[in-house]
């Protein structure tokens, strides 16, 4: 478990102090896959580096599995670091060493007996699917393979926490998927807590259970992935969600509303879970004297739960529309009226 309590970090810059983290309070539960998203410069990189003390907080505390890193000695911090694995965007492998030696490195630093190292490294390389690459050098591997070596190395000392710093940002989409599957497998098989930072919302949708959105050194939004994706509260949150969910109203719809004579009665309807599977629209048009025109929509899966987003126009008498809306309310379906200035 990782806890950030009133965490502050500032750097001395050329133009005065830069406040990279401002009063961060977060808890990452054991066994979670926790995502932190934000644009570059939001502070997410500094945040993840505080967990294994690559950055020292200016104030506040970082508590890893019960020990407050700001209160313990350098030597004790070193032993905490051995219980935290880290995977880097640019892999950070030793190019002068073989794949085997790279994965063995954390164990060598611990003076682990050779036979034990051999056993562990072989097991890890098999686990990440590089059992036949032990004698190769990093520059003979593809990006995805290098990241697998990085992951194997991070797992060598059987850590309880894995930190992923933009682990897939340098990889192509297919390789990204395979690395994400590997991370999910690590989380499930070894019950390792994963804290990852990324600017790719697709990564969060793919594997995280919780997510925090960071902006300008603050956590501006935090919740389950389903909460954030289905109902983002902040502009930045909406921005990120839109990169993968396409919930923004397309231009042709807004133009139609602006130009059309019948600019009213356009609604956004969110279908969640149970309601996504039921034929509400056709029921509405049968029950009430209305034509339902679907202007835009999509239904995707979020964490195994179907999530739909439709923009419809009800064509018919005003009183019928009111009845239809109260019917939606009775069935606990979220809707809001679309006008051109609302997103």
């Amino acid at each position: 478990m990782i806890e950030f309590r009133n965490l502050e970090k500032s750097f001395e810059g050329k133009h005065g102090a830069v406040h990279a983290l401002k009063d961060i309070n977060l808890t990452v539960e054991k066994g979670a896959i926790y995502g932190v998203v934000g644009f570059s410069g939001a502070g997410k990189s500094t945040l993840i580096r505080c967990v294994n003390y690559l950055e020292q907080p200016t104030a506040g505390s970082v508590i890893v599995d019960g020990s407050d890193l700001t209160q313990i000695s350098t030597r004790e911090i070193r032993s905490v670091k051995k219980k935290i694995g880290m995977v880097f965007q640019h892999f950070n492998l030793l190019n002068s060493k073989t794949v085997y030696a790279n994965v063995a490195m954390p164990l060598i630093l611990d003076n682990t007996p050779k036979a034990k190292i051999r056993e562990r490294v072989t097991e890890l390389l098999d686990f990440v699917g590089l059992g036949d690459k032990a004698k190769m050098y990093p520059d003979q591997l593809s990006g995805g393979q290098k990241q697998r070596v990085g992951i194997a190395r991070a797992l060598a000392t059987q850590p309880s926490i894995l930190l992923c710093d933009e682990a897939t940002s340098a990889l192509d989409p297919q390789t990204t998927d395979s690395i994400l599957n590997l991370l999910r497998k690590i989380n499930e098989e070894y019950n390792i807590t994963i804290l990852l930072i990324t600017h790719e919302m697709a990564v969060v949708r793919e594997i995280c259970n919780r997510v925090a959105v960071m902006e300008d050194g603050n956590v501006i939004e935090e919740g389950t992935v389903f909460e954030i994706f289905s109902n983002p509260q902040t502009a930045t949150g909406k921005n990120f969600v839109n990169t993968v969910m396409h919930t923004e109203i397309p231009k042709y719809v807004t133009e139609m509303i602006e130009n059309g004579s019948d600019s009213t009665d356009v609604y956004r309807i969110n279908f969640v879970d149970h309601s996504a599977g039921r034929p509400f629209l056709s029921q509405i048009s049968k029950k009430f004297d209305l034509d339902v025109n679907v202007l835009f929509g999509n239904i995707t899966e979020l964490q195994g739960v179907p999530f739909g987003n439709l923009i419809v126009r009800f064509q018919g008498d005003g009183s019928e529309v009111t009845k239809a809306l109260s019917y939606l309310e009775e069935n606990k379906i979220v809707y809001n009226e679309v006008n051109t200035n609302a997103g």
Partner: protein
């Protein structure tokens, strides 16, 4: 020609002796100094502003002194170390004092080439400063270190030519005393060719070793 074959042969042996011995001792001096320069830099594992500042100034000072002046200036020190101020051994001492700080700079620049990310990984693994140096920094810099050591060795061949000033002998001394000062063109040509062969050979060897250790 004013010199015979034996003279040339013994000059070659003297040069090899001077360069080899002074090279080995210069590494003993320069490598730790270069590592110290690197690790005490701002943001590095043993950041120490005062120590870095002192090392920086001392190394620059020694590097500013022309070799021929250094050779003479440290004669009392040379006598203290090897018991004499004349001969091959007496030339080796100033060569070490000359090349040590030079190698320290070369080592520093090799270490600066190492990817910061690798050092960050070492930090994340909980490596101690000495583990970071031996397990990460030096292996990653090895190929570049070999290239730089080759440069230093060739610099030492050049310095050894001036060793004649203190009776050090060597091929360069032969070139100066016979070829230059007594207008013996043949000796001049032969000694220069020998020096060219030495430098070429060393450079090729250095490149080869760098490729082997760096697998490039």
């Amino acid at each position: 020609m004013l010199v015979n074959q034996e003279q040339i042969l013994s000059a070659v042996i003297e040069t090899i002796q001077m360069v080899t011995v002074s090279f080995l001792f210069s590494i003993l001096l320069g490598l730790p100094l270069g590592i110290a320069l690197f690790v005490t830099r701002k943001g590095q594992i043993l950041e120490n502003k005062a120590l870095f500042g002192i090392l920086n100034v001392v190394i620059n000072t020694f590097r500013s002194i022309p070799f021929i002046i250094l050779l003479v200036a440290i004669i009392p020190f040379t006598r203290l170390v090897v018991g004499t101020s004349i001969g091959t051994a007496a030339a080796i001492v100033p060569m070490i004092v000359y090349a040590g700080p030079y190698i320290a700079r070369l080592v520093e620049s090799s270490l600066l080439e190492v990817d910061d990310g690798v050092l960050e990984a070492a930090d994340a693994m909980g490596a101690t400063p000495s583990q970071t140096i031996y397990r990460f920094l030096l292996p990653e810099a090895l190929s570049s270190l070999v290239v730089n050591f080759t440069i230093a060795t060739i610099g030492l061949i050049g310095a050894s030519a001036m060793a004649g000033t203190v009776g050090g002998g060597g091929v360069g001394d032969l070139a100066i005393t016979y070829g230059y000062q007594r207008f013996d063109t043949v000796t001049m040509a032969i000694t220069v060719i020998i020096l060219i062969v030495m430098v070429q050979g060393l450079q090729s060897l250095g490149n080869f070793l760098s490729r082997v250790v760096g697998r490039r």
